[in-house]
């Protein structure tokens, strides 16, 4: 499944540390994602998985550490240089992030209009191809507010695909969707993976979806990677934190009585 033009990993995250204010969100995270691979980053809420994704597209700059895309350090390069790399990356946001003032067709066409010199008829055809790919043919003239949650995600995906990216990133693709619609998005991801051999990174907390689409899974907890491996390896992993997540065991809620009383009677913080 190797692309001819890339040797080594497509995305390499090296010793990434990042803080939101004083709080450390990522703690020495290192990760390699191979070309053509589908990597699922699995973890509960607030484990830093979305933050990791935001670093890969350089929406956040780390406190220390590096993110390499095709061996180029994206954290420390000028914006102009990164723009070229960025055009080969597509991202589907958790809320789909469609531009609400534009029709679906204009949303998908926007990157083509702004970043290429294609003629308008060509752009229209490409827009229809992308919409057809995600099962939204005939919806060009609809406004985002007229679509359901699942259709918005599909439209967002069509926009992410507009520039024929080599890397496709998903932030919680099934968040806020009913199980059937979510499964529809999963099978769409599988279809894209087989058809285009893109490098795909999916951040999710849905176990079923993770095991269905992943070539490899990274399990994160508390800003750290606890396990990386194929779905079988992850299932067989004996690390209690991995097993806790897989078996959906809630966090232990028993607590120190003394600390509880101190907390109740102490001064307001």
């Amino acid at each position: 499944m190797m692309h001819a033009d890339v040797q080594g990993p497509m995305i390499r995250v090296a010793d990434l540390v990042t803080h939101y204010g004083e709080r450390r969100v990522l703690n020495h995270v290192s990760l390699e994602i191979q070309p053509g691979e589908t990597m699922v980053i699995l973890g509960g809420s607030g484990t830093g998985k979305s933050t990791l994704l935001r670093h890969i597209v350089r929406l956040e700059i780390p406190t220390s550490g590096h993110v390499y895309i095709k061996d180029e350090d994206v954290c420390h390069m000028p914006d102009e240089k990164f723009d070229a790399i960025r055009q080969k990356m597509g991202m589907l946001f958790q809320s789909a992030a469609l531009f609400n003032s534009m029709s679906i067709g204009d949303n998908v066409a926007l990157p083509l209009r702004e970043l290429t010199r294609l003629e308008e008829p060509t752009i229209r055809i490409m827009t229809r191809i992308k919409l057809d790919l995600v099962g939204l043919s005939g919806f060009e003239s609809f406004m985002p507010s007229q679509l359901s949650g699942g259709m918005k995600k599909r439209a967002g995906l069509a926009r992410a695909l507009a520039m024929d990216p080599e890397i496709l990133l998903f932030d919680e693709p099934s968040a806020g969707l009913d199980p059937i619609t979510a499964a529809g998005i999963d099978s769409l991801i599988l279809k894209l993976k087989l058809a285009f051999r893109m490098t795909i990174v999916v951040v999710t907390h849905e176990l079923a979806s993770a095991f269905m689409i992943a070539d490899r899974i990274t399990v994160m907890q508390g800003g750290e990677i606890v396990a990386i491996g194929t779905p079988e390896e992850i299932r067989a992993n004996q690390n209690p934190r991995v097993q806790q997540f897989l078996n959906r065991v809630p966090e232990d809620e028993s607590r120190d009585i003394q600390a509880y009383l101190r907390n109740l009677t102490g001064p307001a913080s």
Binding site: R54, V57, L59, F82, D83, R86, Q87, M89, M91, F93, Q94, S95, A97, L98, F99, N100, L110, P111, E114, L115, R159, M163
Partner: protein, 265 residues
């Protein structure tokens, strides 16, 4: 005592940080509006036109009406004093000069800050909350070029136009008082206004209005970009965009009036 010092220090630092981020935004806007187009990096012409309609054309009725009433109020108040020395002829001069030099630009700025400045903050803030700004960035599109520059250019063009309209409507408001109360004719009133006005009165007002337009856009957009959290954050940004921009408009007004004063009439 330490508490007081810490309070002053914290607020001063906050103020400096706010001012410098406003400065950064204006510098980036200036680059994308006036430098980048000449490097072949494009300008959003149609968006600019659209913003001109929203910020300029649509504000015509309200700016006109408010200025008309303010002109009338000024005439009433002026006549109240000038009657005492039998100089009601100078009501026209009072209304004309104070409107063109001061109140025209100021009223326009206040109305536009409330209409458009808040709309900028709400629009950009909502886009921030719904990840649309991030989506722009990920596509490699510059948010300042797409969102701020069209608004800024539209405001720079439309503020002087609205200000001229405000001057005119205010003078007409004064004239309506002159005709009804002082038994003047419209042409007498207009002539008296023209005698009192010099070109510099109008031009300094227009210069101010461009500055005010810049302030309102920069503050509105900055508040939008700094939205944190959800709908509540958007609401807070909208409010503070109006408050901060009116405050800064008054400060800038003071500074520029002083400059114009010391550089001759």
């Amino acid at each position: 005592m330490n508490g007081v010092l810490a309070f002053i220090g914290r607020n001063t630092l906050g103020l400096i940080r706010y001012a410098s981020s406003l400065g950064e935004l204006s510098a980036a806007t200036a680059y994308w509006a006036f430098v980048a187009p000449f490097q072949g990096r494009g300008l959003k012409g149609r968006n600019t036109l659209h913003q001109m309609v929203l910020t300029g054309y649509s504000a015509v009725p309200i700016v006109g009406l408010i200025s008309f009433f303010v002109g009338m109020v000024l005439a009433f108040q002026g006549a109240y004093q000038l009657e005492k020395i039998g100089a009601t002829y100078f009501v026209a001069a009072l209304v004309g000069v104070s409107l063109t030099r001061e109140l025209g630009p100021l009223i326009t700025a206040v109305v536009v800050a409330g209409r458009s400045g808040s709309a900028f903050a709400a629009e950009i803030g909502t886009m921030k909350v719904s990840e649309e700004i991030d989506a722009l960035k990920v596509m490699g599109l510059n948010a300042i070029k797409y969102l701020v520059v069209p608004k800024h250019l539209a405001m720079i063009v439309m503020m002087p136009c609205l200000t001229l309209l405000s001057d005119l409507a205010g003078i007409l408001g004064g004239a309506s008082f002159g005709i009804v109360q002082l038994d003047q004719t419209l042409s007498m009133y207009v002539l008296a206004t023209r005698d009192a006005l010099v070109m510099r009165d109008i031009s300094t007002g227009l210069v101010k209005s461009v500055i005010f337009g810049s302030i309102i856009t920069t503050v509105g957009c900055h508040e939008g970009f700094s939205v944190q959290g959800g709908a509540e954050g958007v609401g807070r940004a909208t409010t503070s965009s109006v408050v901060v921009s009116i405050f800064l408009v008054i400060v800038a007004d003071l500074v520029f009036t002083a400059i114009f004063y010391y550089t001759g009439s």
